[in-house]
């Protein structure tokens, strides 16, 4: 890049852009902003950001959260040490059994895939992979095109 050319170009572009004044906002914009502000004022305080809550409610919510967290920690500790944990343990066991079934199914599927890959050969596996990638790229491309079209300048 020629520094002299660059300098001249920068000056020329600056000169052109200096011509630009402020754009005129659409006439309906002010009304829209004022309506949004009215809605925000009319909304109950608890729907706003936590920082904008009344100070007393900030304090109350903070204490409640700390108590809740402490309570959960305490309960978990107590449950794990209590002798009568067996009933709760049964429930937990049922949940873990459910996850165990899922895990086993995933394992069987993975084994089936490995076996299929071994029998099909590398070419077909790579072909399937490429086809999947192409399908994914087509989906992303179409999605991007639709979003660009939807948000295109009117």
């Amino acid at each position: 890049m020629d520094p002299e050319f660059e300098k001249q170009l920068a000056a020329k572009v600056q000169q052109e852009l200096n011509l630009l004044g402020e754009l005129t906002a659409p006439p309906a914009l002010a009304g829209r902003v004022l309506r949004a502000i009215e809605q925000r004022i009319a909304a109950p305080w608890y729907r706003g950001a936590w920082q904008s809550w009344p100070l007393a409610w900030q304090g109350v919510s903070l204490v409640a959260l700390v108590l809740l967290f402490g309570g959960i920690c305490f309960s978990v500790g107590e449950l794990s040490h209590a002798a009568k944990v067996s009933h709760a343990g049964q429930h937990a066991g049922e949940w873990f059994a459910w996850f165990g079934v899922l895990w086993k199914t995933a394992g069987v599927l993975a084994d089936a895939m490995v076996t299929a890959f071994r029998h099909l050969g590398m070419g077909i596996v790579v072909g399937c992979g490429l086809a999947l990638l192409a399908a994914y790229a087509a989906c992303v491309g179409l999605g991007t095109a639709c979003v660009r079209l939807a948000l295109a300048r009117r």
């Binding site: 050319f5 600056q14 852009l17 011509l19 402020e22 914009l29 004022l34 904008s52 491309g141 095109a145």
Partner: protein, 181 residues
């Protein structure tokens, strides 16, 4: 005058400034209106401090710039791949078919028309060129500040600004002094 009336006056005084800042960065009227609305919602929350501040214009511009850049970055990761693919064809598409010749432009177009022309050329630039160019030439930011704000390297900022200027030069058929002679 009540607070509501004062804010309405404030809004009418500054809406063009905020809208222009957002529009030139986003090049999309609907997005620029959303950003303008958000800027004034934030201004309303701090109106007691802002209304007598001498730097209120700067504050509004900064917030509008930051919100516009946030808006752009929200979509950037999703679009980068395909935008980069399309950018090549956009850069090739520099034919200023709807622009009059420079001689005619100098002679015949009024200043308002020239502004319109420059505005359209600016908004037709790809975002990667337009954003750093606007931040540099219109918002007065330095290269380092732009790199930090946009989250790209200093070298890329310089390259994108140079490309943006080049594209504008071709679109507006600007003549530099060495080319004139």
């Amino acid at each position: 005058m009540t607070d509501a009336q004062q804010f309405e006056t404030f809004l009418h005084n500054y809406q063009n400034l905020v809208f222009s800042t957002a529009m030139r960065l986003l090049a999309n009227q609907s997005d620029a209106e959303d950003v303008t609305q958000e800027v004034f919602l934030r201004a309303f929350q701090r109106f007691a401090d802002l209304q007598h501040s001498p730097t209120v214009g700067g504050w509004l511009k900064t917030v509008a710039t930051n919100l516009s850049l946030n808006h752009l970055s929200r979509y950037r990761s999703r679009w980068t791949f395909f935008t980069d693919l399309w950018r090549g064809s956009e850069e090739d598409d520099d034919q200023p078919v709807d622009f009059p010749s420079p001689v005619d432009t100098e002679d015949m177009l009024a200043v308002a028309d020239r502004r319109e022309l420059v505005e359209r050329a600016l908004q037709s630039l790809p975002a990667a060129q337009r954003v750093p160019l606007v931040l540099y030439h219109l918002e007065g930011l330095r290269y380092e500040e732009i790199a930090e704000k946009v989250g790209i390297s200093l070298g890329k900022v310089k390259t994108d600004i140079f490309r943006g200027r080049e594209t504008l030069r071709r679109k507006l058929r600007l003549k530099l002094s060495e080319e004139v002679g």
